[in-house]
Amino acid sequence: MLTPELKILIYRTMYQVQQWEKKLLQFLDDGLVSGFYHAGRGHEALEVASMLALRQDDYLLYDHRGCGHMIAKGMDMVSLYGDFLANDKGSTKGLGAGIVHIADPDRGVLGQSGTLGGGHVLAAGAGLSIKLRGTDQVVVNFFGDGAANRGTFHEGANAAGAWKLPVIYIVQNNGWAISTPVDKVTAVKSFAERAAGYGMRGVSIDGMDPFAVYEATVSAVEQARRGGGPTLIEGKVVRFRGHFEGDPGTYRPEEELAQGKAQDPVITTRARLIAEKTADEQQLTALEEEVNAEVDAAAAEALTGTMPGRERLAEGAYA
């Protein structure tokens, strides 16, 4: 249920995610982080509110876009920074940097397939595992409108649908795959229309509205936990920045971008909490200061990490 406390937690986490990323971009600017980063700015509502509908033992497979889901799933901000800084504070102890393969088994964060859409089939397999082990966990698989067109989706969704596996597919439809607009390469207006073909429930929601996201996820989770099978949630979102940091994004019509940015989920949610009287300005400002301090502390601690030596290269390939 969307209690006032939960609404505030959702806002707090979205704000945290945004601040966390802001600091990361500064690390990038400062040359402390190499490689590629695909900012999640604009996707906060979808990545955060969906995760807050899960339990700690539920699973998450994510893609390259942003880190909101991992933070909302409870991962330590220090370990996330550490992964980007490629030092031993990171979840993978210095292996990461750039599009990192962050993971946290204790919080169900299963990792990332760097080939887009690789998670579609892994998610179905995790769903099968849940069914075989007889728990009531669920698995959430995040991906973009671009990755939705990989054949792995067909195979994962079909298995999940046929066997009623507890899988929730969340497509972050931001309308772009790098420079390619969704309608140029996709035969369908809404990805939710594809769900029926897999005996799946499909819903298309405003991914900029965290409360709608939360409700949609809760309903998908409930269905999955009671053996009702998978759900496909399409969240329409806006990618505020370039595909990756460094992409000037010149291919995007300025107007479209401006319209998108006007819906900033962090700003609109804040305003809504105040308008609805769920919180007041002062309370939110205090909360934001708290978050800022946490983010600063996490960043500072992450910077104390040590880069691994050459020997790290050969570690971990085999059990």
Partner: protein
């Protein structure tokens, strides 16, 4: 090895699965028609009856799901055995094998194990054509992260499969379709064979043949032919390619100084090249003759059984090579 019990290669594989599924309830099997049907080659017969449809699962024709789903299950507490109906289908799940199964552990900092076995029936038998007949071990060898096992006898198949299932790393287990009915001694008692240990299938002193899978049998037959010429052939079966038993290879080359490497896969880019390179790096000075590869012809496998037979090195071809190399 007390009881002298003789069973087929296929039955040995079946027993290994049944025993490991009994021992560890996290082990399950999935693949196309592996259930009540017992698998298109009959290898999984009886398992569905014994363990039920939850642990012996008939799947859609979705190889990416088969392997990728296996990975998803493996990193969340299960130990899947995944059967691809033909080894060639590794290409239909290439990224799931190379990018996911083989790398998930490393790329996530060692935080997950991926304990799964991919069972891969390989080889040119009975005219199954270009896409159902290859021995694609070398493709997996070129990317790290997955062990590669290739048994040539019922004894090896059972002992190695049990180890593969217990191993916490992903294992590609190549079963030669042409060996399924081959019989051999397999003890009643439980045993396992460690992965990565070569086996000398025939002791000899003049020439070594390093061969695996079905070609071990052609090598043994060739060795008998050569024995009549007074040439004493050693047959070394690495029983797998990763981990590779480099010591055993070096030892036999140092002993005989003459080596033939033989596999069914096409010669160019085949795994025999890796064995040759290892010899050329590690014990070249022991060689008394050039290294010789006797391998499959570099062509897709034709559908015609009549032509298919010309593709695979025969005992006679190996015999000729033995004589040439012995006389060098």
């Amino acid at each position: 090895m007390s009881a002298k019990r003789v069973i087929s290669y296929s039955q040995a594989i079946n027993e290994a699965m049944a025993e490991e599924m009994t021992r560890d309830e996290r082990v399950f099997l999935m693949g196309q028609d592996v259930g009540a049907f017992g698998g298109v080659f009959g290898v999984t017969a009886g398992l569905h009856d014994k363990f039920g449809p939850e642990r012996v699962i008939d799947t859609p024709i979705s190889e990416m799901f088969l392997v990728g789903g296996g990975v998803g299950a493996a990193i969340t507490g299960m130990r899947p055995i995944v059967e691809l109906q033909f080894a060639d289908f590794i290409w239909n799940a290439g990224d799931e094998i190379i990018g996911k199964m083989s790398k998930w552990r490393y790329m996530h900092g060692g935080l997950f194990d991926v304990p799964m076995v991919l069972r891969l029936p390989e080889g040119a038998v009975g005219g199954a054509g270009p896409e159902h007949s290859t021995c694609p071990e070398a493709a997996l060898l070129s990317a790290t992260g997955t062990y590669i096992v290739v048994p040539s006898t019922p004894y090896d198949a059972k002992g190695l499969l049990k180890s593969a299932i217990r191993d916490d790393n992903p294992v590609a287990f190549f079963e030669h379709k042409g060996l399924y009915t081959t019989k051999g001694e397999v003890p009643e008692e439980e045993y396992t064979i460690p992965l990565g240990q070569a086996d000398i299938k025939r002791v000899g002193s003049d020439v070594t043949i390093i061969a695996w899978g079905r070609l071990v049998h052609h090598a043994l037959a060739a060795a008998e032919l050569a024995a009549r010429d007074g040439i004493d052939v050693e047959v070394l079966d690495p029983r797998g390619l990763r981990p590779l038993d480099v010591d055993a290879i070096v030892t036999t080359v140092e002993k005989t100084g003459r080596v033939i490497i033989s596999h069914e896969a096409g010669q160019t880019g085949g795994a025999s090249a890796e064995v040759a390179a290892i010899i050329a790096e590690n014990c070249i000075t022991s060689l008394e003759a050039p290294i010789r590869r006797v391998c499959g012809v570099d062509t897709p496998v034709p559908q015609s059984v009549h032509l298919e037979q010309f593709l695979i090195p025969t005992a006679e071809e190996l015999h000729v090579a033995i004589k040439e190399i012995a006389a060098y």
